[in-house]
């Protein structure tokens, strides 16, 4: 073949070679087909471990029970039993080391998540006792009268 054909072809071959060399160094060695097929499973295998290493923030009721069994027992036997401690007390993270004390959400808004009356026929929401926040002792925190661990009205403080 003629020289004027070969010379640009050499340039192209060198560019391809450079790309392959760059690819060799830039693409992680664990990159490949790891899942079902190429379409859905082509990825870096190490990333699965990255996701599994994410820290757990919500430790669960059993973890609370290790140090606060009375509070867990009181709440579990009440109508608020199905509610996880951390829903109101906040995620435990590494409590008691860090944070040493959890910030409890005692706002009216927290109680209104379930007990704010809404016209929702056909939903379980209408089965929960609800109040209208504008008329039911506005401005007074719910916990001044109601005990969140023992919410029965007979137990009112």
């Amino acid at each position: 073949m003629k020289n004027h054909v070969w010379r640009p072809l050499y340039v192209v071959l060198v560019v391809i070679a450079l790309l392959l060399v760059a690819r060799y160094f830039l693409v992680p060695s664990d990159f490949g087909v790891h899942g079902k097929n190429f379409t859905y499973g082509f990825h870096r295998a190490g990333n699965i471990m990255d996701w599994q290493a994410v820290s757990i923030k919500y430790q669960g009721r059993e973890s609370c029970n290790e140090c606060h069994p009375e509070n867990v027992a009181t709440n579990s036997s009440s109508k608020h039993g199905p509610i996880q401690c951390e829903n109101c007390h906040g995620p435990a993270l590494n409590h008691p080391e860090n944070p040493e004390k959890l910030t409890i959400d005692t706002s009216r808004d927290l109680c209104l998540r379930c007990h704010g009356a809404l016209p929702t026929p056909g939903s379980q929401r209408s089965r929960i006792k609800g109040i209208s926040p504008d008329t039911h002792n506005p401005e007074i925190p719910c916990i001044d009268c109601h005990n969140p661990h023992k919410p029965d009205l007979e137990e009112m403080q």
Binding site: R44, Y58, Q84
Partner: protein, 256 residues
């Protein structure tokens, strides 16, 4: 043209090698190898949402955002709760203020006052990633940054994602969003760090009413799998062919 025996044999050999090359190049896509790559066939995560039980408290959204480090005041979330209010005139009013992270406390829908006597039905629908069997979001990724694990969860590689946003546009369920801190695509992954350690997803754990459940769809004894197999369940946007793996009890035709 003259052609000796030697010439003929060399040409044939060369042609055979040339013909074999492309086949060798595509060998890594062969079905047998793909089947071998699938290791644990006994685990496939699935989700069950009982919309009849949801009261719109939003504790699931709060737990999700704190567990997965999504900035709390950012208007994005991996999971969210929608409120549907159907009125007598046939209209459907839908809202999800701040993904429902602070619960539904206001009877007004998007500042619109709805006469309670006009409401025929009203309910809440929690939504999250469907971890589809045919995830459209994975198909469109140009760099291989998002993928489906062997147990069926779709993950995003934060180090590899270039933030092009194709997957955010491709998801028919609007599940994906742009992470405001990491500047990459973000999505629900059933709390992969929790489920792979034997815990339940944060939203499942936080739900006081049992409206959210997670289970192994490959285990016929799993309570979630049993309900999906024996009761009437539906999926969202079946017509897209994505084969979603989040099943709903009590889904209404107004739910989109």
């Amino acid at each position: 043209m003259k052609c000796s025996r030697r010439d003929l044999l060399t040409t044939v050999c060369k042609a055979a090698v040339a013909a074999a090359l492309p086949v060798a190049a595509f060998r890594f896509l062969s079905p047998a190898e793909v089947r071998a790559a699938v290791a644990d066939p006994a685990l496939r995560w699935g989700f069950l949402v009982d919309t009849e039980k949801c009261v719109g408290c939003g504790f699931c959204v709060k737990a999700c955002k704190l567990e997965n480090e999504i900035p709390y005041e950012a208007p994005v979330s991996r999971t969210w709760v929608e409120r549907y209010i159907v009125t007598r005139d046939g209209q459907t009013h839908i809202d999800s203020p701040m993904a429902g992270q602070n619960g539904f406390t206001d009877p007004k829908v998007r500042d619109e006052v709805i006469d309670p006597s006009e409401i025929t039905k009203a309910f809440f629908v929690p939504k999250l990633c469907n971890q589809c069997d045919n995830p459209a979001c994975v198909q469109v990724c140009p760099v291989g940054a998002t993928y489906q694990t062997k147990d069926g969860v779709v993950l995003v590689d934060r180090d590899w994602c270039i933030g092009c946003g194709y997957c955010i546009m491709a998801c028919p369920y609007g599940v994906r969003f742009f992470h405001p801190v990491h500047k990459v695509a973000e999505k629900c992954n059933f709390c992969y760090h929790r489920i792979s350690k034997g815990l339940k997803s944060a939203c499942v754990e936080a739900c006081p009413f049992g409206a959210r459940q997670i289970g192994n769809l490959k285990d016929p004894e799993d309570p979630v799998t049993r309900i999906i197999m024996t009761q009437r369940v539906a999926v969202l946007k079946d017509e897209y062919g994505t084969k979603p793996q989040v099943f709903y009890i009590g889904l209404d035709r107004n739910v989109r």
